[in-house]
Each structure stands twice: as structure tokens, then as C-alpha cells.
Symmetry: C2
Subunit: 348 residues, 2 copies
């Protein structure tokens, strides 16, 4: 399966998906010392609460990082509603708060204003961005440059996994970790971007070829993967893709699903995957058209083995990026240039 | 339009929607003193962060309350990921945290465990529930009984608006407010549950009768309305309804929308509604099949005038509950008994 014989559709997105092993390798080898130094500055400040601000794909990186903060650092964390500070003019008391803005472009005006306001309100501010010269980085006290390189496809891929990995290395370093769980990621990503997975992705694309609506679900760390996979499918294939945590799916939206409803469930090795068991049981009982990412069942898209759950989202998304690209191409859309979107979204 | 001549479909949900003016009136008149007393206990504790835990409909009440905390109290706030504490065993440092669990039934095991853990980790804990004898209320240090009365339809309606109003009165009292903006709500809800609005709802139901996917969008306080309206449509009509903040819609999902795509935008009077202007412009430019809740344009579902934005979500949802019920009935589904759902969802 040569995924690039696509009449020019999705060439950029295909290339950027394939660059991810190199991007992950470079971050672990070259960026970790700078991130660890920054972690020491944050340790000294002893934040008691972590607030993330982000939009779109980067909001899903922030969702992943929120679990890292809650579980690895034992601190409460939240996703800011940027409009509270921008549109409503809130000036919250942010002493003892680490305020982290995540943005590939660093250019969205509401995030730039949020981080400036957060700093003025007493927070220690950190920008995580692929654009270290951006206005967002300029407003922040601390900056992580995720160094994913230029991303030309509108749908973000390598900048997303780069954000995830940098956030992981940061919070791991804050708990005095040595980043060891990140070391196998580049090799594992290399497996995932290879031909064998491309064949499996093509098979799943066939199963979902006529689908107009689809549910993606995961729990714990993998909830971020569900959110990001749904966004990729919406942006590139224009499928009405909805993400739910496995628990929230049981609290209502399950009613939408019936025989043959298209569902992707993320159930990697670990606690979040095991917590999906009752959800998978219900989905199987309904006779849904179910693909499981992780695991080894007949309908599964296997993931590389021996990966710690806390870094698994960095890998889980890769076959789903490939799937979104493939479905778009099969529908005659160019995933490099989704209709109506620009690379830097201006929201206030 | 007599919404009850439906061959028995949606009788319970219709009755419970219609009870909302009385429920709101009773809360303002009878519950406010108890809520104000509780507010004084919270003031004394001087929390610095507020963390909410909830699932399903109650999670949307928590989303509304998060904006109240950020804007009215000037405190950072977050929605907890319950699985961090339950599945992953996190024991975060929750000193100076007000931890608020919101649950109609008070029976979901993961929320009960979350609030018990939060209390053991040093948080001041509050349960907001329609079941004051529930396990959730039993684990909490403080309890608000929203007193919506028995709710028999599976899709929550009056328990949702009761949760919103109780949370509003609480945070308003914590900032030393006197609840004045809540006083007109019962009368306004009475207008909204009347015949004139039922006619408008029937017209919108006609426009959306064959729709399989739909986007609901709002900003600021009204984002909670978008989330809850989408869930009601999913639960009762099995429509693939997706909610986005107006800003997040612009960061990707807008690509899904084209001419005749079904969209509901909430744009009530105020800052959040004004911030929707560029979103409404894009939606109109695309030629979407757009209904605006609030405002006075030809395609608008008007809302009662003179309502403060900070309480507007308590009203905005009412015509959308009516719409969800109506669409379900027209499709031959019973909104009182969505397939595959129980009133108390057990998630761990």
C-alpha cells in the first residue's frame, strides 16, 4: 500500500504523519535537557494548581496534560475557559497557579490575551508552541519550543504529538522522572507509520467508507486520543465524529448507537483500557461496527507492545491520523486543505 | 398546539418541562436562605480553587458553574477527570479547594468515590443533588438539595435547570449577591413553556425533521446550553448532535459544515451572544440551516427580554428541551424511555 499515490491529495499530511518518528526522537534527544531545566524553575515556584488554555488540537494536548498533572503530580488541574478573561474581563486570583497555554501557531489572539492576563494576575506562565517567535511565546515567562518543524497541512499531526511529548517530559521532570518511558516512542512510532499498519488502516477505511457519523471513545489518558481523532475526522473527511469518555458515553449518548453504528474505541494496555471493558461489552452487545485501537481482538488495530500507558496517547493517535487522511482521500477531499479553514485561526 | 396529544410518547418529559417555572419559583422563594447560609460557610473556608465533578447532564450544569466561579468569584476552576482519582488512584493535594459534585441521582459510584477521596485529600466538599438521601450526599460535608421533585423521564430536564439555579444562587451568595437576577426567572420560564413558544418549536422541528446530524454552538455562559441541548437531542431523537464553543467551532469543525447543514446557535443578550457575531456571520455565509436562540432575526427563537446574561442559560435550554422532545415524537421515539439508558447510570 503506497499511501502517496493519491493524485496529490493529502501529500503534505502524509509526509507530516511520517515525520513523527523523527520529531519524537529529536525531542527526546535534544530537547529534554532544556525541558528539565524549565521543570526545575517550576518546582521552585511550587504551583498548587495548573490551568491550561488552548483551542482545537492543542486543547486535546492540554486534556492529556491535565491527566498527567492530576495523576503524576497530584495537583488539581483545569482547562481555562479563555472567554472568561477575554470577553468577560475576569481577573482571577492566580497566585500559586501554573498557567500553560498550548498553541501550535502561538497566534490566536484570545490565547495571547489570556496568557498576558494570567501573568498579570499572578500566575507563572508557560507557552508550549511550535512557533517560539510567536506573540504567545512573547507574553509568557517560560516557553517550550516543540520543534516539530514547519507544518504545512492545515490538519495538525506532528505538532500534536510533539506537544504531547514535550508536555509529558515536562511533568515527568517535575516529578523528578528521567524521561525513560519516552525513549521507545520513536521506534514505536516508526512501526506505526510503516506498511503493515497502512494495510490495517486501509481495511478500516473500507469499513467506514460510507459512514456519515461516528463515535470515538476512550478513558483516562486515552480520552485525549478520542477527542483528537474525532477532530481529525471532522476536519478532513467532514464526518460528524463525536468523542466521549467511556463513562460519559454511558450517561446518555449510548442511546444514539445501534447495530452497525460506526465506533472507534481506544483501549490500550493499562488502567484506562481496562476501564473500557464495560463500554466495549455494551458496544459489542449492540452489534456496532466497532474498531478497537489497542488490544488484539479480530477487530483491533494493535499498538506496539511494552509502552507505558502514560505515554500511550503519543502513539495511539498515529493510525487514526492515517485513517482520517485515508477516508478524506477516498471521499475525494484534500486533507491538506480542509474547506473553510486556515492554519492560524483568529478567535477573540 | 397541544403538545400532549402524542399517543403517549413523551408525556413524562412534557410534564417535567412544564413544571420548570414552579421548580424555579420554589427554589428562589424557599431554598435561597439555606443556600445563603451554606455560602457563608464556604466564605469562611476561603477556597482558592473550585473543582467540579459530574457526568452527563450534570456535567453541563458544572460547565455553567465554572464560568460563574471564574467570572463572578475571580477564582480558577476546573472540571475534574473523575477517573484520575477512581481508576488511577490519584490522591491530589486539595487543601484550599472547594470540590463540588453535581449529580441528579447522587448514585453514580465514580462520583461517590471521587467526593470521598476529595474530602480525604483536604477539600471542602459539596454535593448538589436532587436526592438528598443519596450516597453522594452522604459522603459530602455540605449538601444542596435542588428539590426538583421526582423526575420520571430518563432525559433530565427540570433537575438540570434546578441544578443551574441552585449553583447560581450559591456563587451569587458567595460574592455577597442577593439573588436579584434570579427573581424574574420563573415568570420568564412560564412564557417559554407556553403555547407561543410551542408553535415556534414545532416550526423548528419541521425544519430539522429529516436531519441526522446537527451542530449546536454558543459561547461563554451559553456554551453549557449548547452542550446540554446536544445531549438532549442525542438521547431522545438519536440525532448525531455535536456541541462546540463558538471559538472551538472556528478551530476545525467548521469544515464539516456546508449549505443546509443543521445548526443551532445560542446568542442571548450579552457578552457571550455578542462574541458569537463572527461565528453567526460564517454560518450565514455558508448557507447553513441555522436557528438562533436569542436575538430577533427571522430565523430566531426569541428569549424573554430583560434577563441578565449570567442567569440566561437557565432559560435558554427550555425551548431546546421542547425541541428534543418534539423531534423524538415526530420520529416515533419515546423521549421518556430512550433506548439503552437507565435513570441512574453506574460508572466506575
Amino acid at each position: 500500500v503506497d499511501v502517496d499515490t493519491s493524485g496529490g491529495l493529502g501529500v503534505l499530511m502524509g509526509r507530516e504523519i511520517a515525520e513523527q518518528p523523527d520529531v519524537l526522537d529529536r525531542i527526546v534527544k535534544e530537547q529534554r535537557p532544556a525541558i528539565a531545566a524549565l521543570a526545575r524553575r517550576i518546582q521552585v515556584a511550587r504551583p498548587r494548581f495548573v490551568v491550561f488554555a488552548a483551542r482545537g488540537t492543542s486543547d486535546h494536548a492540554a486534556t492529556y496534560a491535565k491527566y498527567l498533572v492530576e495523576i503524576l503530580l497530584g495537583l488539581p488541574a483545569g482547562l481555562a475557559s479563555p472567554s472568561s478573561m477575554t470577553a468577560y474581563g475576569a481577573r482571577p486570583d492566580l497566585r500559586d497557579v501554573l498557567f500553560v497555554a498550548v498553541s501550535q501557531s502561538g497566534g490566536s489572539p484570545d490565547l495571547v490575551e489570556s496568557i498576558a492576563t494570567a501573568r498579570a494576575c499572578g500566575a507563572l506562565t508557560l507557552a508550549v508552541t511550535n512557533a517560539p517567535e510567536s506573540p504567545l511565546a512573547g507574553e509568557a515567562e517560560l516557553t517550550i519550543d516543540v520543534q516539530a518543524g514547519p507544518e504545512l497541512a492545515v490538519a495538525a499531526t506532528k505538532s500534536y504529538t510533539a506537544e504531547l511529548l514535550c508536555l509529558y517530559l515536562l511533568f515527568d521532570a517535575i516529578r523528578d522522572g528521567d524521561g525513560r518511558h519516552a525513549r521507545r516512542l520513536a521506534t514505536a512510532a516508526d512501526e506505526l507509520t510503516g506498511d503493515q499498519v497502512a494495510v490495517a488502516v486501509a481495511g478500516i477505511a473500507d469499513r467506514f467508507s460510507g459512514v456519515e457519523r461516528l463515535v470515538v471513545t476512550g478513558r483516562g489518558y486515552s480520552y485525549s486520543t478520542a477527542l483528537e481523532a474525532a477532530l481529525k475526522l471532522m476536519e478532513t473527511s467532514y464526518i460528524s465524529a463525536q468523542a466521549f469518555s467511556g463513562a460519559d458515553l454511558m450517561h446518555g449518548p449510548m442511546a444514539m448507537l445501534q447495530e452497525n453504528s460506526a465506533v472507534i474505541a481506544i483501549a490500550a494496555d493499562g488502567i484506562g483500557g481496562r476501564a473500557m471493558t464495560p463500554v466495549l461489552h455494551r458496544l459489542a452487545g449492540l452489534g456496532t461496527n466497532l474498531v478497537v485501537v489497542g488490544g488484539s481482538a479480530a477487530n483491533a488495530m494493535p499498538l506496539p507492545s511494552g509502552i507505558e500507558e502514560e505515554v500511550s496517547p503519543i502513539l495511539e493517535i498515529i493510525p487514526l491520523q492515517m485513517l482520517a487522511r485515508q477516508l478524506a482521500i477516498e471521499r475525494g477531499y484534500d486533507p491538506d486543505r480542509p474547506r473553510g479553514l486556515l492554519k492560524v485561526t483568529q478567535t477573540w
